[in-house]
């Protein structure tokens, strides 16, 4: 089965699968339980890869496409795990007018991933975010909570290299 939106090798454990199936069996007969099931599944795995969504589909009888449709509609659901280093770039108004869009694209180029994705080695994930309250330092990016401000595009390779 090919899967375009899958970068990182799935590494779910037997315990996680048991917890998932147990949770589904408790919820599945309640009308409208798909969202809670998906939320709890994400609590267990951290994200909702095809392996997890397939189990939900097999156990509930809900078509996989319907689950995927919900997962891609709501921002709260992640199809990719977070990386060891979580990179986020502020695309709020102040940062954006100061050129954070270019910063974002530079990171995309270097890491080879786009918004919401994770590198195949599991090292970096990339997300855009809204104002982090450091407009005075615009444009701003963060790596695992560490803030880098007054950035230019040329600063980006050096910052990412610190985490290689």
């Amino acid at each position: 089965m090919t899967c375009k939106k899958q970068g990182v090798q799935f590494s779910g454990t037997k315990e996680q699968e048991i917890a998932l199936k147990e949770m589904i069996s408790q919820l599945k007969d309640t009308k409208g339980s798909l969202m809670p099931i998906m939320q709890k599944a994400q609590d267990i795995y951290g994200y909702l890869p095809i392996e997890v969504q397939t189990i939900i589909s097999d156990e509930t009888g809900i078509p996989l496409e319907k689950i995927y449709g919900v997962a891609t509609f709501y921002a709260q659901f992640a199809l990719q795990p977070k990386g060891k280093y979580q990179v986020s770039v502020c695309l709020g108004t102040a940062c954006y007018v100061k050129g954070s869009g270019d910063i974002f694209h530079k990171i995309e180029d270097i890491l080879g991933i786009t918004n919401g994705e994770c590198t195949p080695d599991g090292k970096f994930s990339l997300d855009s975010c809204r104002c982090v309250g450091a407009c005075g330092l615009a444009p701003v990016m963060m790596v695992n909570g560490e803030v880098y401000g007054r950035l230019t595009v040329d600063d980006v390779p050096g910052i990412l290299a610190k985490y290689e």
Binding site: M1, T2, C3, K4, K5, Q6, I50, Q53, T54, S57, D58, P63, L64, E65, K66, I67, Y68, G69, T72, F73
Partner: protein, 581 residues
């Protein structure tokens, strides 16, 4: 039911309570435009074309708004016309407007509305557009989302009517697109190829994978002997492509058109439908008398067969091992007929015209090549045949009525009714009952299994046995029926299942009728009537009395179920799953 009187455009209109404004307006001969609405299937008021003014100016979606006493409706004010125009312009702003070469040009519902509302293909709101990325992964169809208007008719019919749900809306906002889970190609999912999504699509976003060019090339090749078979339901619907009313039998003109297209022999799937009955009735009697797996379920519908493999893999032993009539025809054409004519099987190009898209998948299945070459080389839909006729400049409506060629064009009334839900059951019963009892049937019509209801049941007293039968059409109905069988709630001996609601007459390869026709006309019954009328008028109405079939057994196959018959006419199935293909 109680009637309610409302005002539509100033006139009193009385309509049953519970009607929508759209339905009430129809009673006043006013058709409010719709793009997404499909009665009982897709009632989501998404497209907003059906918006009307109620009670002095408020806007309401007429397709879902129930009438109430004293309601005042305006359907055609200047501001509503402007509103509808703007809505169409916005839809067009994200639409691939390559209409001239579009497969749906001329019967596109969006195009028709734009013409009616005076909206041209100008760049009103230029900006981002959904790119044209074709999903060609499935054997039978293509999806082009650049022509999709997100009406969700296809996803509704897939999930609600067929009980499958392999397509749906993904992502959100402007990025929303119809696709499959994890952006898999349709061919990687448990899609059964029924093509009901194509049948309801208002635009050119969904269409069959065409083999017209390959067939035309074969016809042009003097080294090839190109034969064609046409399924029962094609003659009952092809006329719609040439402005005949729904339910017109165009069998004679169709045979004439095929001859003028250059096919070497014009044959009829009705012949092999009779052959299917011979084998299937024999198999059924064998199973009943020798403790075989029951209920036996028909295997003519490749959409149903694939559905069974995906969704009821533990029931593939219940499927009759008989190939479908299309495949039986191909196997006989490249053996019996080839020998008779002194032509090598590899020099025969076997083409079928089908009301079906799943037939395109079926021709490529394993174990469908009895003579070392594919039983059937190309399967075209009714729509593709109409396109070929138009491309060739054949004046279909002026053609004389012509006959099929012998011997593979000779059929009984039992073969014709295969195209309607219950028809295979009725045809099989005619042969099975006479075989079991050794007596001639007094009445050939098994009316309990006729009609377009989703599930039908009947019990027939045959010899010293009560034979319980059931008929289902549409895969959602098939699922409900099989769940009853699995739970032990029902114990049938023989079940007929057709993948499409109403059977092949309403197949995914049949001419597309716009939403308002689908919502107001019983298309299935009108088309099925053509088949039942043909049967009633047929001089021979039982498969086992078809002289061409008798000769085939006498001179070539031996008995039904013989070793030779098994090699040529029977097949095998695979067990698939829903999510891991």
């Amino acid at each position: 039911m109680e009637n309610i009187t409302i005002k539509i455009n100033g006139m009193d209109v009385s309509a049953p309570a519970g009607s929508t404004i759209l339905e009430a307006a129809r009673l006043a001969q006013v058709e409010i435009p719709t793009l997404c609405f499909l009665k009982d299937t897709n009632e989501i008021a998404a497209c907003r074309l059906c918006t009307v003014e109620i009670n002095g100016g408020r806007l309401a979606a007429s397709c879902v708004y129930p009438i109430n006493p004293g309601l005042e409706v305006k359907t055609n004010t200047p501001s509503l016309r402007e509103y509808r125009k703007k809505t169409l312009q916005l839809i067009l702003s994200n639409h691939d407007r390559s209409c001239l070469s579009c497969v749906r040009s001329g019967n596109c519902e969006l195009q028709t509305l734009c013409k009616e509302m005076g909206v041209d293909a100008d760049d009103y709101f230029d900006g981002d557009k959904t790119p044209s990325v074709l999903d060609e992964s499935a054997a039978h169809m293509v999806r082009d989302n650049s022509k999709c208007i997100l009406c969700r008719r296809c996803t509704a019919v897939c999930e609600k009517v067929q009980g499958i749900g392999v397509i749906g809306p993904n992502d959100r906002g402007f990025a929303t697109f119809i696709g499959s889970a994890f952006d898999m190609g349709l061919g990687e999912t448990s899609c059964v190829s029924c093509g009901q999504c194509i049948a309801v699509c208002p635009t050119g976003a969904l269409y069959e994978k065409s083999s017209i060019d390959e067939v035309a090339a074969a016809i042009a090749d003097p080294a090839k002997h190109v034969i064609v078979q046409t399924a029962p339901s094609v003659r009952a619907a092809l006329g719609e492509e040439f402005d005949y009313p729904i339910g017109t039998n165009v069998e004679g003109k169709m045979a004439a058109a095929l001859r003028r297209l250059g096919f070497d022999k014009i044959f009829d799937t009705n012949f092999s439908a009779d052959l299917t009955i011979m084998e299937e009735a024999h198999e059924f009697i064998e199973r009943v008398q020798h403790g075989g797996v029951l209920p036996m379920i028909t295997s003519c519908s490749p959409g149903w067969v694939k559905y069974c493999e995906h969704y009821f893999p533990d029931m593939t032993e219940n499927l009759s091992s008989c190939k479908s009539p299309q495949q039986m025809f191909g196997a006989i054409a490249k053996s019996y007929y080839a020998e008779k004519m002194g032509i090598k099987p590899e020099d025969i190009v076997s083409v079928s015209i089908m009301p079906c898209t799943a037939k395109k998948f079926e021709i490529g299945r394993d174990d469908q090549d009895a003579n070392g070459v594919a039983d059937v080389d190309y399967s075209l839909t009714t729509r593709e045949l109409a396109r070929m006729i138009k491309q060739a400049g054949i004046r279909f409506n002026n053609l004389p009525d012509e006959e099929f060629d012998a011997p593979l064009g000779i059929y009984s009334g039992a073969g014709v009714i295969f195209g309607a839900t219950g028809g295979v059951m009725e045809a099989a019963l005619r042969t099975a009952v006479e075989t079991l009892t050794g007596e001639e049937l007094k009445k050939l019509d098994f009316t309990d299994v006729r009609g377009t209801e989703g599930i039908k049941e009947a019990t027939y007293h045959v010899g010293d046995m009560d034979v319980k039968v059931a008929v289902a059409s549409g895969l959602g109905n098939a699922r409900d029926l099989l769940n009853k069988v699995k739970s032990g709630e029902a114990d049938y001996h023989f079940i007929e299942i057709m993948g499409c609601p109403g059977g092949c007459v309403n197949g995914g390869g049949q001419p597309q009728q716009p939403g308002y026709v689908r919502n107001t006309t019983d298309i299935r019954t009108l088309r099925a009537k053509v088949l039942y009328d043909t049967d009633a008028a047929a001089p021979i109405r039982k498969s086992h009395e078809n002289p061409a079939i008798k000769e085939l057994y006498a001179t070539y196959l031996g008995e039904p179920g013989s070793e030779k018959a098994h090699h040529l006419l029977h097949t095998s199935y695979v067990k698939r799953s829903i999510n891991n293909n």
